[in-house]
Subunit: 589 residues, 2 copies
């Protein structure tokens, strides 16, 4: 189905280029409509409702006050899914819009436009039934004792040209402030490299790429300078770096080549990665395919090489194996090497005794330890999965109802579901060992003593290896979105679940946890490799690479956008790009 | 026809808002196609041809080298219409794109997007048959003696971080560098006011408007500060200022009001104009209508008031009548008061003895006096219409073939067309005096001596008032575009017209002028007044104001864009705005 749809599109494309007539426009309209219909069928989009007002102002005094910090994937997902009208929600963020960050790499080359992948947060909030206030400001301090956050406007506001400061108290605090780029303190990176974190970063890259081509076109430049200016370096072989390199390669070959034919031979793209392979969190097949494709495309992939310094004209990298440092002249460098901690989060972590970590640790309910009613999600946080071995004695005691000091398998039947829910690593361990159920694990540890009572030592040894199966969640938009959705769901049913707790047994206490813990549902991941090819790694590590995959990627990403406006815009950007190519005007955006 | 089309659209709009279903999308697609079809029928657009390369490189040595400075309306119109392959064209401009500047005022509010109204100059040049090179640089000096221009890259380019400099020699020079904003040296304007000249200016205004609304939304601001931040001042009641004020008013009422309901009562728009009325180059009916409409809309129009100073928080204006100066706190000021001279043009004018002027003076063939093969057009230039009285003796002599010192009407029959072409003020004078033809003018001056010979003194007195009819051309995109087209046509037929001159008689010399002089063909003008109403003043000063006029304005402007890409983008922006409203995200662009 997709295959034939693709070739139809491909044929249409050829027709377009050869016969640029009215039929072109008609065909495009038709295709847009078809894509729209697909989206309606597949997405969770809700139509725009412009008639509702933000402030409903009914008995605001009694409402619980929720302060949300950040409007990224996590924060926005929380706000979009929160539907309980009994909250008074205050959102604080330095940007008054939500960015669909997975499309940032293609924004750098103008395949989509900035405004197509963002949505004003106030428009998103307009649809909500709860009371809501938005403040465009930075939260610079959190005081969990006083239950207060301290904020500063992101711009000078008052007549004396000072930043306005204010404090908000909260009943519940949701921290979703995201991360910043990790420069590994490499000298020169902040000064000279481009990042891929914010819309503005991507816009700057776009302008800078076109700047480079214009600068290199000037007469009276030496060969050497022209070569330097047109050397584009990407640092970081993760999905963002690889996607940018691939997209830029396409931009150059599909659009810039014919506009700048006189300098085409000077253009060079280098991708530097410290590990031995690019895309090393992906399946080996994808890595191998990507490396091979990049080699074919003429993108220089330099693995096992660590950037140690960036100056205004040179980038220095150290070979990991030999220790040799080489300096290469460059024109533009894009730094895409994963997440670092934001200073405000770092300060908060120091306050609450998490100074040595890279992200705010939460439990499986996204609650920040030692703080009352403080939640953290998205890139600024990391879920600390509880280890079985920490609780082993409590689990044993819980099962041992008659306090005999020994258990039989029957005792476990009652709490096995709770164990599996509370400690998902047990399930992973069973799967890895190809065991059918928990009983098999216990039986296995005392083969000789089948059906006999189990003592605590046997129990410990049976579960001793289980905790090695704990997996840290990746810092992706997918995780952030699911966390936001999960937390909103908890908030929506807060009262109900207080009365009727739905979570697993509290092994250290009595009763049950109020909610089910957060579980990440891996829906697979994409790695766009350029030239219409997107590698897809599905949940079961099933890999698909091919030409048709781009359409799946398009459909999935479009359906994930926050609004119909964004979806329409992205589709129309893609259609425009398809017909007219990417825009090469060097404006400030 | 238009009326019914309009109400259909209006009804459709209401349906959309009430029933946001799939049919909405289908209808929009259909409407887009219809608009496209209209455009195909009405515009001069050529389809994109991506296959041709810039450099054809055949006998480049022999080709005449044309240097074009600037890629605004005038320069781009020249480049687009030049079709003679015997030129080697070098284009120098600090921006590598063309902006359709009449849409800048609506760009400020996001009714169109920046990239929709611009076109990369290299893409435009790709379609041309002549050899062409583009350099993104500023021309800082013109040497008409050596026939050289001196340029500097607009960015640092070389390894030492310096701007690259280069010189270009030319056979023909086309100066189309535009103008800058005229601040009348008012203190504080450059520092604190926004302009409406470049795409970047409009983008900054857009960001600044949204900044103001976000800043004013912060808690803990005083009433007074909130009021100040939301006081928007527009200086200049010309078409740009009026259009911005109207567009901003619509943006506020149609989109921002529902997103910022808590601060709506603080918003104030003031339009300051030094003359007694706004839109004073338009018909009185339009002025009156606009003033009345603005009053109804709550836009404060302050005429007869001159801005004398702008500080960071206050704007000072002087009442022209009373001399009283008042200071008003403001949050944002947009300065839209006509054109000033660019420093490079000023320097060149000093060189060639035009130091006292505001724009480069050219003759009716757009040639700059005292310079060989130098042409100037667009906002940086002004056409100096030759006065009849300067040449009166030569005209008389030319007609007086037998050198008798007297003429009869028959003598004039032979040169009357040349006089009318060379001195268009004669025709305007006849029209004003309601005379049928030139003979009537002469007869009129010596009624008693009908059919008798005319002496030079009679001739002089007959034409003495003619020169008062000379009209300076307005500094509009329409004039610039027509000048570019005219000059390109001259260049296209340069050799042909050298052999067979087509222009009027040379009264001071022998033979004929090589080309017809440039004549501005006034196609009318628009003044968008907000709320779907656009005032149209057609060539015969016929005025049309009404709700349907917006569709004419849309159609005309869309058809004038430089490419199909731009047209499609502007239409899709309009459709998107119509369905989803304008975007209120505060990103950098």
């Amino acid at each position: 189905m997709i295959k034939s749809g693709y070739s139809l599109f491909e044929r249409a494309s050829r027709t377009f280029r050869n016969h640029p007539t009215l039929s072109k426009l008609l065909l495009v309209s038709t295709l847009s409509v078809i894509t729209w219909i697909n989206l309606v069928a597949s997405s969770d989009g809700r139509p725009y409702n412009g008639d509702k007002h933000i402030h409903s102002s009914s008995d605001e005094g009694k409402k619980k006050k929720v302060v949300v910090l950040g409007t990224g994937c996590a924060g926005t997902s929380f706000l979009r899914n929160l539907s309980n009208p009994s909250y008074d929600v205050h959102v604080v963020s330095p940007r008054n819009y939500f960015v669909f960050s997975p499309l940032l790499p293609i924004l750098t080359c103008g395949t989509v436009e900035a405004r197509s992948i963002i949505d004003p947060i106030r428009t998103i909030l307009l649809k909500k039934s709860y009371d809501v206030h938005f403040e465009e400001a930075n939260c610079y301090k959190i005081d969990p004792e006083k239950k207060k956050v301290y904020c500063k406007s992101s711009k000078n506001t008052n007549v004396r040209g000072e930043k306005d400061e204010f404090a908000l108290d909260y009943d519940y605090l949701v921290i979703a402030m995201g991360a910043r780029v990790n420069t590994f303190n490499t000298p020169g990176v902040v000064e000279y490299a481009h990042f891929l974190k914010e819309v503005e970063d991507a816009q700057r890259i776009r302008k800078s790429v076109l700047d480079s081509f214009e600068r290199a076109s000037l007469p009276s430049l030496s060969e050497e300078e022209r070569k330097r200016i047109l050397h584009f370096v990407v640092v970081g072989g993760g999905p963002a770096g690889v996607e940018f390199a691939a997209e830029f390669h396409d931009f150059f070959h599909e659009d810039l080549l014919k506009l700048y034919p006189h300098i085409k031979d000077y253009v060079k793209i280098t991708l530097i990665e410290a590990a031995d392979h690019i895309l090393n969190t992906y399946d080996n097949k994808i890595t191998a395919f990507a490396e091979e494709k990049f080699q074919r495309d003429g993108i220089h992939v330099k693995t096992g090489s660590m950037v140690v310094q960036v100056t205004d004209t040179e980038i220095s990298a150290k070979e990991r194996k030999t220790g040799e440092v080489s300096n290469t002249p460059y024109g533009m460098v894009v730094w895409a090497t994963g997440n670092g901690t934001r200073p405000e989060i770092m300060a908060f972590m120091k306050q609450i005794g998490q100074a040595n970590r890279h992200a705010l640790a939460t439990d499986e309910w996204l609650r920040v330890g030692r703080c009352e009613n403080v939640y953290a999600l998205g890139d600024c946080a990391t879920v600390n999965q509880r280890q079985v071995m920490e609780d082993i004695a409590f689990i044993f005691n819980k099962a041992d109802k008659n306090k005999s000091g020994t258990l039989n398998l029957k005792d476990f039947q009652e709490i096995v579901d709770d164990i599996l829910e509370r400690y998902p690593q047990v399930k992973l361990h069973l799967k890895r060992r190809k065991m059918r159920n928990f009983s098999a694990l216990l039986k296995n540890s005392q083969e000789s003593a089948q059906n006999q009572a189990i003592e605590i030592e046997n129990f410990k040894s049976a579960l001793s290896e289980v905790d090695s199966q704990i997996i840290n969640l990746p810092a992706t938009a997918q995780v952030a979105g699911q966390q936001g959705e999960y937390l909103a769901d908890c908030f929506n049913r807060m009262e109900e679940c207080e009365k009727y707790p739905e979570g697993p047994l509290r092994f250290r206490g009595s009763g049950r946890h109020q909610f089910h813990p957060f579980r990440y549902n891996n829906l697979g991941k994409f790695a766009p490799l350029g030239g219409k090819q997107v590698a897809i790694q599905s949940p079961g590590d099933w890999v698909w690479i091919g030409r048709s995959t781009r359409w799946i990627w398009y459909s999935v990403y479009t359906s994930k956008l926050a609004s119909w406006r964004a979806r329409t815009s992205v589709i129309s950007d893609w259609v425009k790009r398809f017909i007219f190519g990417r825009d090469s005007s060097r404006i400030r955006d």
